[in-house]
C-alpha cells in the first residue's frame, strides 16, 4: 500500500519545518534555505537517531542520582530531615494525602520513566524498520512530547517551599542536590523528544541514513 503514497522525500521535495512550505530539493550536500522564511531545510532532522539515543542514555544516567539524592532538607528546631522523591511520596501516603502522593508519583517517577521507555521503544522499532502499527507509534511519540514538561512540577514545588518556609531556626527548607539532577533529567528528555523525527517511523521503505 505504501508504494502508492507520495511523500515529500520520495518526490524530491522538502517541507520547511518552520513555515511548512514545500520546497524542491537541491543537490545533495548543498546547504538549502527555505525561499519563503529563510530557515535551513532538512528532509529529516539531522542525526535524529544518534542524537536521541545519546540524550536518552544521558537522561537514564542522571535518573539514578535524581532518585537517590535528597531533593529537599527540612530543618526544624535544629533537626534536619532529608527527603528523596520516593520518600516524599511515601510520606504523603502515610499522612493520608494520597491524591498529592499520586500527583508527585506520576509527575516525578512514572512520567520520566515512561518517557524513556517510549523513546527507546520508538528508536528500536525505527532502527529495525518496523512497519508495525505506525499510526499508533506516531501517537505514542505525540504523548512523549506532551507529557515531559509536567515532570517539572516537583522542581517548582521545591522552589515555592524554599521561598515560603524560611523562618530561620524555627523551620526552613533547603533544596538538595537531587533536585538539580532531576531537573537535568526533565530537560534532557525534553530535548530527546524534540530531536526524534516521527517521519522516520513512516520511512520503512527508504533508507534512514540522515
Amino acid at each position: 500500500m505504501n508504494h502508492a503514497l507520495k511523500t515529500a522525500r520520495n518526490q524530491g521535495l522538502i517541507s520547511c519545518h518552520s513555515c511548512h512550505l514545500l520546497c524542491r530539493r537541491g543537490d545533495a550536500g548543498a546547504v538549502m534555505t527555505c525561499p519563503r522564511c529563510g530557515t535551513r531545510l532538512h528532509s529529516r532532522k539531522p542525526n535524529s537517531i544518534h542524537r536521541t539515543w545519546a540524550l536518552v542514555l544521558a537522561a537514564m544516567i542522571f535518573y539514578i542520582p535524581a532518585n537517590v539524592l535528597p531533593i529537599t532538607t527540612v530543618i526544624s528546631l535544629g533537626k534536619g530531615q532529608s527527603d528523596t522523591i520516593m520518600s516524599g511520596v511515601i510520606y504523603f501516603i502515610y499522612s493520608g494525602m494520597w491524591p498529592i502522593a499520586l500527583v508527585i508519583f506520576v509527575a516525578s517517577v512514572f512520567v520520566p520513566l515512561l518517557k524513556l521507555i517510549l523513546l527507546c521503544f520508538l528508536l528500536i522499532t525505527v532502527q529495525r524498520k518496523s512497519m508495525w502499527r505506525q499510526k499508533d507509534r506516531t501517537r505514542l511519540y505525540r504523548i512523549t512530547e506532551i507529557i515531559g514538561r509536567w515532570s517539572m512540577v516537583d522542581i517548582f514545588v521545591v522552589t515555592i517551599l524554599v521561598a515560603l518556609v524560611n523562618l530561620g531556626a524555627l523551620a526552613s527548607i533547603q533544596a538538595g542536590p537531587g533536585a538539580v539532577f532531576f531537573c537535568a533529567v526533565v530537560i534532557i528528555t525534553m530535548f530527546a523528544a524534540m530531536s526524534f523525527d516521527p517521519r522516520l517511523i513512516w520511512d520503512t521503505e527508504e533508507s534512514i541514513d540522515e
Partner: protein, 200 residues
C-alpha cells in the same frame, strides 16, 4: 503547489482543503493536525496576548502565597523563590525556574505582540520569519500551567504546618494559564505566512 502540503509528522504529501470559516485539517495517514483555522485569528490572538501581558505583570508584582507560623508571616512572589534558590547555591535551578516561568512566557508574549500588532494594520514587521520561529521554539519551555500545579501541591503540603493565605497574584496566575493556552490555540500560523508572502 500552493495548496499542497507535506505532513510534518509523516511526510505524506496531500492537498490542503480550503477552510471557509473555522476548522481543523488532520493528516489522512497519521492524524497530525496540519492546519487550524480560527475566525479573526490575528485579532483574537492579539487581544489574548495583551490580556496575558497585563495578567503577567500582576502575577509577578504581588505575592502569590503568604505563610503564617505563630507570629511570623512570610509572603512570596515568584522572584523571591528564585532568589532564595540562588542564595542556597542552586544557581542552575534558579536559572531554569526563571526561564520556564518568567522569561520564556514573557518573551513569547512580546514576540507575539511584535508580529501581530503590525499585521493587524497590514504592516509586516522587520524580521518576521525569525521572530515567528522563536515563538515556535519557545512554546515547550513556557511552563506556567505546570507551575500552577506546583503551587497547588505546595499548598496542600504546607497546610498542616502553617496557615496559607492565597494572594492576588495566585488568581492572576490562574487566569494567565488559560489566556496563554487560548493564545497558542487561536494562532493560525498559515495565515501569518500568507500575509508575509503577500507583503514581501
Amino acid at each position: 503547489m500552493q495548496s499542497l502540503i507535506a505532513c510534518h509528522e509523516c511526510d505524506l504529501i496531500q492537498r490542503l482543503p480550503h477552510i471557509h470559516d473555522a476548522g481543523t485539517v488532520q493528516c489522512i495517514r497519521c492524524g497530525a493536525v496540519l492546519h487550524q483555522k480560527k475566525r479573526n485569528s490575528i485579532e483574537r490572538t492579539l487581544a489574548l496576548t495583551v490580556a496575558g501581558l497585563i495578567l503577567f505583570s500582576l502575577a509577578n508584582s504581588f505575592p502569590f502565597l503568604a505563610f503564617k507560623l505563630e507570629a511570623q508571616v512570610r509572603q512570596t512572589t515568584l522572584l523571591t523563590g528564585i532568589k532564595e534558590l540562588h542564595a542556597q547555591q542552586m544557581p542552575e535551578l534558579a536559572v531554569i525556574v526563571l526561564l520556564t516561568t518568567v522569561l520564556v512566557p514573557l518573551g513569547q508574549m512580546l514576540c507575539m505582540l511584535y508580529i501581530l500588532l503590525p499585521l493587524k494594520f497590514n504592516i509586516v514587521p522587520l524580521g518576521l520569519p525569525r521572530v515567528f520561529r522563536w515563538v515556535r521554539h519557545l512554546q515547550p519551555w513556557s511552563m506556567m500551567e505546570v507551575f500552577m500545579l506546583g503551587i497547588l501541591v505546595s499548598v496542600v503540603k504546607l497546610a498542616k504546618m502553617a496557615k496559607i493565605v492565597p494572594g492576588i497574584a495566585l488568581f492572576s496566575f490562574l487566569a494567565l494559564i488559560f489566556v496563554l493556552a487560548a493564545m497558542s490555540a487561536s494562532l493560525d500560523s498559515h495565515l501569518v505566512w500568507e500575509k508575509w508572502e503577500e507583503k514581501r
